[in-house]
């Protein structure tokens, strides 16, 4: 029997007023006219609760680009789900936040691009930092869980201490420090985003000291950049094991980047019940278990821990989605990662915020 997913990740829109250079949305985004209706999402959310999910993560793009998020939160709450809103804060007013909380929102994750306004706005491609600070103060007027998401990379990792200070000042319950992962737009901009080995080494003790100092006050999660790790991460907790993701057009996927893998057919949540898609569709079945694995994964004792790493990353770096994730030190194609890492540690020009060279994510406009 296949255990049901724990959480539904609802990418309700790809629209976003920010233009982050590391956005993990696919390069081919779904335009507004392909987005599911409120009724369709309502049916999907209830279906997910019936399947056994207990969390709903509303994300995007910027989920608040849609007007019906309050309604979807209420539907989820009534269906027994715990709801989490992952937002840039743009599109949130004090009044709208109040409505969301009244609808039953349990947790809000607010992203920051830096602790310093100027670089924050340069990375996000929008004058947003000051507004986010106001949003954070409104959040603390309510009793809901508040997480600050700090996305770190070459151009802000040196200010980690200040970033932690910012989250503290905003009175967050939790700080999630995630090194950029190289998918979507971040893969395009990888050379400019990858930190140096020295930066990574310096960041670790800062995190550990802050975790110790803030015990009982603010929890801190830290995600290492996997290009610097010895073993890959168990991406999404394993393919089709814990999470089910639905994109703005209703495509049901094991992870947000899975669209890059050629030949995968995604079912649409409007056409088939989620239980069928989760338990039987090819896109979910193809990388479950270890039948699909190559060596060295297949006979590796860690295959039950990291499941051979990330399929999308394997494809992006080797052209073969069944390969061992090249971030693994045992991977035959580790050289793809080593080259990127050595470039990051060699090329001082990458330390400047690039002008013109890097690619801001565009907003999917209406293709009518």
């Amino acid at each position: 029997m296949i255990a049901p997913p724990q959480a539904l990740i609802a990418e309700v829109t790809h629209r976003c007023p920010m233009h982050c250079v590391y956005c993990s949305n696919p390069l081919e985004m779904q335009s507004a006219d392909r987005e599911l209706s409120t009724d369709a999402w309502t049916a999907i959310i209830r279906d997910a609760a019936g399947l056994g999910c207990f969390h709903l993560h509303l994300t995007g793009g910027e989920p608040l680009s849609r007007k019906d998020v309050e309604q979807l939160v209420r539907v989820a709450r009534d269906a027994g789900l715990y709801t989490n809103l992952i937002t840039s804060g743009l599109g949130l007013s004090r009044a709208r936040l109040k409505d969301l909380v009244a609808a039953g929102l349990d947790h809000i994750q607010l992203s920051f691009q830096d602790s310093v306004e100027e670089t924050a706005n340069a990375i996000g491609g929008a004058r947003a930092h000051a507004y986010k600070l106001r949003v954070a103060s409104w959040i603390r007027e309510h009793r809901l869980a508040f997480t600050v998401n700090a996305v770190v990379h070459r151009h802000n990792l040196d200010r980690l201490q200040e970033f932690i200070g910012l989250a503290e000042q905003l009175n967050a319950d939790k700080l999630e420090i995630a090194n950029v992962q190289y998918y979507g737009w971040a893969f395009r901009n990888r050379d400019y985003l990858m930190p140096t080995r020295a930066q990574v080494a310096k960041s670790l003790p800062i995190v550990v000291a802050a975790q110790e100092r803030l015990k009982g006050k603010m929890r801190i999660d830290f995600v290492l950049p996997d290009y610097y790790a010895k073993y890959p991460k168990p991406c999404m907790g394993g393919w089709g094991r814990k999470l089910i993701l639905i994109d703005p057009a209703g495509r049901v996927m094991p992870c947000h980047a899975a669209g890059v893998i050629p030949g995968l057919q995604f079912e649409n949540a409007q056409d088939k019940p989620l239980r069928f898609i989760w338990e039987q569709s090819d896109a979910f079945q193809c990388f479950r278990g270890d039948e699909w694995m190559q060596e060295p994964c297949r006979s590796c004792e860690r295959k039950g821990i990291d499941f051979g790493g990330c399929r999308c990353q394997a494809f992006l770096l080797t052209g073969d989605a069944t390969a061992t994730d090249p971030t693994c030190s045992k991977a035959p194609e580790r050289s793809a990662v080593d080259e990127a890492v050595s470039k990051a540690n060699r090329d001082d020009q990458l330390n400047q915020l690039p002008r013109g060279d890097w690619v801001y994510r565009i907003d999917p406009v209406m293709r009518a």
Partner: protein
């Protein structure tokens, strides 16, 4: 972390709540996921409303489970809540 005092009032932290009673499974929903509740777990957490003191919670459980040894109940409640405090699901007011 220091053990909680008997006069402190345990409460679920913001963003932590019990799954609806109608759910087939009893869960404590937290931002990171959910914890399965076994035995008297749900009952203990129902009493963690920021009104009852830790002493009240213990009294109440001793009353509701008269066949169990009183000292053991007290110890288990304290351990249980301390553990959830460390996980960030409980605060003491």
């Amino acid at each position: 972390m220091k053990p909680p005092g008997l006069a402190e009032r345990p409460a679920l932290k913001p963003g932590c709540r019990l799954s609806p009673a109608s759910n087939p499974e009893s869960l404590l929903l937290i931002p990171e996921g959910a914890l399965r509740l076994h035995g008297p777990g749900r009952r203990i957490l129902e009493l963690c409303d920021g009104q009852h003191t830790l002493a009240d919670v213990i009294d109440q459980l001793q009353m509701e489970f008269p066949s169990a040894e009183a000292n053991r109940i007290a110890g288990e409640v304290v351990t249980y809540l301390s553990r959830l405090h460390e996980k960030g699901a409980i605060e003491f007011l």
